[in-house]
Symmetry: C2
Subunit: 110 residues, 2 copies
């Protein structure tokens, strides 16, 4: 089971990607997995949390050390190609938000 990401003490940055999908599946899973793998190797990557609900809404949050790390990942050529395919084929709608994490806390069952 995936877990909440383990991140350093704030401040750091969150990219919140919320989406609904089209009915086109062609290439989606492979590209999503590839982007998760490629993103996790970028400078400043801190963690990834992703869920898609049975009702179709997906919420994916990636964490980054700086805004420059966010901008650099956004501009990686293979990622740009995936973003274009997302708009052309896989996503009905999405919203992206870039946010500065100012505070966090965790609970874990003893």
């Amino acid at each position: 089971m995936s877990e909440p990401a383990t991140t350093p003490r704030p401040p750091y940055f969150a990219v919140i990607f919320t989406s609904t999908r089209t009915e086109v599946d062609e290439g989606y899973e492979a590209t999503a997995a590839r982007m998760a793998e490629l993103g996790s190797r970028q400078p400043g990557f801190l963690g990834l949390e992703s869920a898609r609900d049975a009702d179709g809404l997906g919420v994916t949050v990636s964490y980054w050390r700086t805004l420059e790390d966010v901008a650099r990942w956004k501009a990686v050529a293979e990622h740009l190609a995936a973003q274009r395919l997302g708009r052309e084929k896989w996503y009905r709608a999405y919203t992206l938000r870039v946010a500065k994490v100012e505070d966090d806390w965790s609970f874990s069952r003893p």
Copy 2:
């Protein structure tokens, strides 16, 4: 189908709640629905996005006008009781992050 939340122009605040559940379901769905409804009537509430994956990870993001709105909602008595039940019964682990949204953009299929 749930949609990405419609929020005003930044800045505003996001509370990112990532969790894994125990196997205890008693009261969970009703309380989650009640908190979504109660939260949406709080001052400064802007929107809610929530998904739980088939693998068990849940990612819920609520949006708020100010940090004071976030703090006020956290301290609502019925919400405090739900938080306590969450730690006692429903959640195996969770992380809460409070973040300031500095930029956002949306795509919607024509």
